[in-house]
């Protein structure tokens, strides 16, 4: 049992389609989000067990990943298990792109892979939230979910996965990074809280009908609400470029610095429009990259 290695992979994201405060059963308000996963962004974890001696991690900065591995062993593994955890990730740090959650999830998966067990998704999410205090919804690929990222609870599962979206990723403040955990959660006012209600219903409808244009409306509205808390320099200008090139909306990292200009991946003209928008954005001095679904 103590031989061998376990592997795990988890993806990063490009911020959120929606993030806000939503009523759960019993009118309880919960912070929740829908992450926009990016499969180009990956964290890979390798776990090699040893007999005792605690868990060491490389790079040493991935302390939450180490903690996640420890928690996974404490919950499922043989007592006294130690080991070496190696993380290899291409997800930018401090941009609100889920580097930390991806490291944590990949590490949990690596330990589970080594243990050869496959617990339910809610157990995995509970460990991730314990390790990190909050966790994105990137794990949920089969159905899109509205995920209470601080409670580790699915508030609502939608009927379908997210429809395919191409993105132009814009780094609005290349010189600034944000520590997600240090960042103080938004204090939404009553108007904002009530606005999340129609956002949620359009989100539900849009996913059910794979209507990316309506999804773009939801993302744009959420990005706008977030401006009061973590404004993105140049957002108006990005939106204006988008409207010239038939973008379906903008979305942001609600606790990060990136902005995404969204395009319908199933639209025949998407490539041409994306190239046009890229030129226009670069011309305006934005640092932009294309993320295809």
């Amino acid at each position: 049992m103590l031989d061998g290695a376990g592997f795990g992979v988890a993806v990063g994201h490009h911020g959120e389609l929606v993030q806000g405060l939503f009523e759960d059963d019993g009118a309880r308000l919960r912070r929740a989000l829908v992450s926009l996963p990016c499969r180009q962004l990956k964290s890979r974890a390798t776990f090699i067990a040893s007999d005792g001696g605690g868990i060491r991690v490389l790079p040493g900065s991935c302390d939450k990943a180490r903690r996640a591995a420890e928690l996974t062993i404490a919950r499922f593994g043989p007592p006294g298990t130690g080991g070496n955890l190696a993380i290899d990730s291409n997800i930018p740090v401090g941009r609100g792109m889920g580097s930390s959650t991806a490291d944590v999830l990949a590490s949990i998966q690596a330990v589970l892979d080594w243990l050869e067990i496959e617990p339910a998704s809610d157990e995995v999410m509970r460990i991730a939230v314990s390790a990190e205090t909050a966790c994105d919804s990137t794990l949920f690929k089969q159905q899109a979910v509205l995920f209470a990222h601080r409670d580790g609870i699915v508030m609502e599962a939608f009927r379908r996965p997210l429809p395919p979206i191409h993105l132009i990723s814009i780094e609005t403040t290349p010189e600034v990074t944000i520590d997600t955990l240090e960042y103080r959660p938004a204090r939404y006012d009553a108007l904002e809280i009530e606005t999340f209600r129609p956002l949620r219903s359009l989100l539900r409808t849009a996913i059910k009908h794979a209507d990316v244009r309506m999804l773009g409306r939801v993302a744009t509205a959420s990005a706008r609400i977030n401006e009061r808390f973590l404004p993105k320099p140049g957002l108006d200008e990005i939106e204006t470029v988008g409207s010239r090139f038939d973008a379906i909306g903008i979305q942001v990292a609600h606790s990060g610095t990136v902005v995404g200009l969204m395009f319908d991946a199933l639209d025949r003209d998407a490539s041409v429009n994306i190239n046009g928008a890229m030129d226009a954005l670069r011309h305006s001095g934005f640092e932009a990259a294309i993320f295809r679904h």
Binding site: A27, L29, L191, P198, L199, S201, L202
Partner: protein, 345 residues
Amino acid sequence: MSIHVLMRRLEDFEGPRLVPLGANLFGASFFLMKLLPARFMLERAVEQGRLRPGGTICESSSGTFGLALAMLAVQHGYRLILVSDWALDRHLHRRLVELGAEVTVVDSPAPSGGLQQARLDRLHEYLRDISGSYWPSQYDNRDNPLSYGKIAEHLIDRVGRLDCLVGPVGSGGSMSGTSRYLRTLFPELHAIGVDTPGSVLFGQPSGKLNLSGLGGNILPGNVEHSQFDEVHWLAPAEVFDATHQLHREHGLFMGPTSGAAYRVAEWWSRNNPDKKVVVLFPDEGHRYVETVYDQQWLATVAGWPGPLRANPVTVGAPTEPMPAWSRFGWGRRTLEEVLAQAGRE
């Protein structure tokens, strides 16, 4: 965030029931539309310490807002004082009393502002004399329009993307609030307010009003004029005719403000067949069995039974005399902007 206060025992009664009225026209039929804003205002007042346990709620109402407050007061243990006038239906009056509300009926109008002002004067006496009293003030309380996010949520859940919202305007809360929330997602939403001649809400000179719940002689702070693309005015006979049509053709037994909104929505929907329209029906018809739904009473209404206009007449300014169904392209302007232009022409 402050404490989240819950007064949700009657929450099931807050949302509308959706009924298809045509290919792209949906009626949102409320049990009692005011229940939602009333609950929301009370919750917020408790959160902010303006209403304390066992406190006294005082309000001026001769209609559904009073009933909503009475239903909530009995659930959650508040004393309720309502100032009303002759327009209070006797069966509703009886219900309010059984629910424990203390109902005062004012019968002489104030020198300026008529009955509506006389009721407000009486209300202010209560507020002054009763310590710890709370006035929801639905006409000016910002929490009134704020409460309609839930209705926008409900409409989107049921019909998806909306192109047009039509509704009567009284306190201004439902149309201003719902339009605002919907426009966060559908900025191009076409919002149509329905008013009546002689109501000052959209610039008519003040006159005698014969329709409870539609228009008013005092301008509520909650009418956010710049939310409206278009305004219609219907005379009482037209409103009552439309109310009967809604019942006859769709089985919906609603109050006259619903009838007014239905006539306008049906017309607009017919002329914009590719647009999805929702029309708000604020309350049911039971309060009107001795008036709008009584043929003898109807016979006493000016202009009844017609002939009535089949289409609205477009007017050049909202200040013009309006003998019957009229419409004006409001264009999301403020009242001042519209009146200034009307004055220039």
